[in-house]
């Protein structure tokens, strides 16, 4: 039995046989073709090119229709490149005039573009080289007939273990047979991870090198909740997983009916549970599961998807879709939280090479430096505010000055709109994410100035424990149950209570049922979580009383090791909601 850990990007636990897809290093078999074969080789190039264009269009359509146009846009730039006349002309010329093989010609031409772009010293354009390599891969795959046929000719359920999956491959996964997938590379914000979440296939990325140890066909357990892959589990583990799979299906069925029930504790305390979303399409998933609104609307995708900076109307249209779909329910729109691990191509030139991007120019810092861009987004949010119940939230605020500056810019935008006679909600609530320890330390001061707090546990844990969870060598330090984190959350709750300001916890901690009794016991009354987690959270709330939650939180806060805290909370959860606890104790 071998266990590998990676980054959990899409929840769920599955077991099945491994299908291993190695990294694709194409070997170009021959560089020259005979003169007589030139016409046939040109023909072969065009057939391959047509197939690639068809694939890209297919990806775009499939993804647009299933997941929305914004996901589809990932592929439209690829198509433009594949149909580029210069590319076609140069490849044809190498084949015709120099008797080069199509494989060699394609690779040579595309690589020369990539190299030239990289040499220009313009980071913005050099990022485009990655897309060029992607196109090269697609073309070579067609030419060499090495399509990942494994993926399209599946006849039995499998778990895919790959070096990498392109967004195109992910989008076309046959969900009837692909139970889940795990990749050696990739991060939270890769397009592949985003698509997996939207398709609701359990998935793990960033496993690190592990494929060398797997030959394929082994029995695999993929735990998308905890980011773990178990190869050749022993009989006992396998039996437990299969049992828990069957049970979780029953639980899923039951939780499916949870949407209409109120989220209220046994002793009648109402708890707000909102959804975290990234795309307008996801509102549907929130409403279906009975969410009380959108507690975190991430707006990064507007910037990350296209090749251009979103216009005010791009922003406005997206926000209106979300706000209108929510009716009277609140929608918390978080302004651009970009930088560090997710730099859009269109802004790459603003990010100097930094040894420490997590501590560099990101989020609100970036917005405050790019006031034009920031104002464009704020204008759109304000304009959308008349259509529903909008709240504005600034990410990664570290100092009071930052919050005041952001607020001042917002006031400027309000004045502009007023001058132009454009309607907006004047008293739109303005809040901030609490993700930096400095903001917790000064929570009292912040509480006087904000309308609400939202604790972003992911970054807060990272910055408090000084650990990057995507680095497997230190990821073990990254734990929601660390006593330091519990203490910080308490500090925020206390400061907010003193000033009568509401607090929400978003981030992965609030999607984890184990932490719900603890958080409620500390006094939290509002959560925001991934839509898929909402029914489970509701179940915990409904099985709990505040008195009990207070007892649990008091005990948890007296423990001094993260693992003891999490172990204790796990025990309490299995007592409260035995159905929700997976029996596979890793």
């Amino acid at each position: 039995m071998k266990v590998f850990s990676g980054i959990a990007v899409s929840p769920g636990m599955v077991s099945g046989p491994a299908l291993v897809l190695g990294s694709e290093n194409f070997r170009i078999p021959r560089k020259f073709v005979s003169k007589d074969a030139i016409d046939a080789e040109l023909q072969r190039f065009h057939v391959a090119l047509d197939l690639v264009c068809k694939d890209i269009k297919g990806n775009e359509q499939l993804v647009s229709s299933q997941l929305g146009a914004q996901y589809g846009a990932i592929f439209s730039a690829h198509l433009q490149m594949a149909q580029d006349p210069r590319l076609i002309r140069e490849v044809e010329s190498l084949i015709r005039d120099q008797c080069r093989s199509p494989e060699f010609a394609v690779s040579r031409v595309l690589r020369s573009y990539a190299e030239q772009l990289q040499k220009m010293g313009d980071r913005y354009l050099s990022e485009r080289a990655l897309d060029i390599f992607d196109l090269e891969k697609r073309l070579l795959r067609k030419l060499l007939g090495e399509s990942r046929e494994e993926l399209s000719n599946l006849t039995e359920p499998v778990i895919i273990l790959a070096h990498d999956l392109t967004p195109g491959e992910t989008a076309t996964l046959n969900t009837k047979y692909v139970l889940g997938f795990a990749t050696e590379v990739g991060g939270h914000t890769s397009h592949t991870a985003i698509l997996a979440g939207a398709l609701e296939i359990p998935a793990i990325v960033g496993l690190g090198r592990c494929l060398a140890e797997i030959s394929g066909g082994e029995s695999v357990i993929l735990d998308g909740d905890h980011g773990r892959v178990i190869i050749d589990p022993d009989d006992e583990t396998l039996a437990r997983v299969q049992h828990s799979q069957a049970r979780s299906q029953r639980v899923r069925d039951r939780l499916g009916e949870m949407g209409s029930l109120p989220s209220e504790t046994q002793d009648g305390q109402r708890v707000t549970i909102c959804g975290n979303i990234e795309f307008p399409e996801e509102v549907r998933q929130c409403i279906k599961r009975g969410a009380d609104g959108v507690g975190l609307y991430r707006t990064e995708f507007l910037f990350l998807s296209g090749n251009r900076e979103p216009s005010e109307s791009d922003h406005y249209e997206a926000y209106c879709r979300v706000v209108e779909a929510c009716g009277d329910l609140p929608v918390v729109i978080r302004t651009l939280d970009i930088g560090a691990d997710k730099v859009p191509q269109l802004m790459a030139d603003q990010f100097a090479e930094s040894a420490n991007p997590m501590l560099g120019l990101r989020s609100i810092r970036l917005s405050l430096r790019n006031t034009q861009m920031f104002k464009r987004q704020l204008r759109a949010i304000l304009r959308a505010s008349v259509h529903g119940n909008v709240r504005i939230m600034f990410p990664l605020v570290a100092t009071l000055l930052e919050f005041r500056q952001a607020k001042m810019i917002l006031m400027d935008v309000m004045e502009d709109l007023e001058d132009e006679g454009i309607p907006f909600q004047r008293n739109v609530p303005i809040g901030m994410m609490v993700e930096v320890p400095s903001a917790v330390i000064l929570a009292e001061e912040f509480a006087r100035e904000v309308d609400f707090f939202s604790i972003g546990t992911n970054d807060l844990i990272q910055y408090t424990l000084a650990c990057d969870r995507s680095d497997p060598t230190v990821a073990h330090l990254y734990r929601s149950g660390d006593p330091s984190i519990l203490r910080l959350i308490q500090m925020v709750l206390r400061a907010a209570e003193k000033h009568g300001k509401p607090v929400t916890v978003c981030g992965q901690m609030s999607s984890d049922p184990r932490f719900i009794p603890l958080l409620l016991g500390m006094g939290l009354r509002s959560l925001s979580a991934t839509p898929q987690a909402i029914p489970r959270l509701k179940e915990v709330v409904r099985n709990l009383s505040i008195t009990e939650a207070e007892r649990i939180s008091q005990h948890a806060c007296s423990l001094d090791l993260a693992r003891d805290v999490e172990h204790y909370l796990q025990g309490e959860l299995s007592r409260l909601c035995p159905d929700l606890v997976d029996e596979v104790g890793f």
Partner: protein, 98 residues
């Protein structure tokens, strides 16, 4: 050949970042809707306005003046459309839907 119209214009690159990905995408999308051949000249180089690679590799900075030469049956209309794109700074919604 003599029956073809040839239109010559000058356009100015106004986007702050020069002729970058977004304007290039819009430009190619617009250019490919016309049958005329559309060439842009800058710094001794010629780029086909229907080729994203050509445009990218020309690396045109903000403020640059490009000579445009359009040849073909719909040259006039094509030149107008491209000029409009440059004049609007590639920002007007709708230009990318044409």
């Amino acid at each position: 050949m003599q029956s073809e119209d040839v239109v010559r214009r000058q356009v100015k690159v106004t986007p702050e970042d020069g002729l970058h990905l977004r304007p290039i995408t819009l430009l190619v999308r617009c250019a490919t809707t016309f049958s005329s051949s559309i060439s842009l000249f800058f710094d001794g180089h010629r780029a086909d306005a229907k080729s994203a690679f050509d445009l990218m590799l020309m690396a045109v900075p903000s403020g640059a003046i490009l000579n445009m030469e359009v040849a073909g049956a719909d040259a006039e209309a094509a030149a107008d459309a491209i000029c409009r794109l440059f004049e609007d700074g590639f920002s007007v919604p709708g230009t990318d839907h044409r």
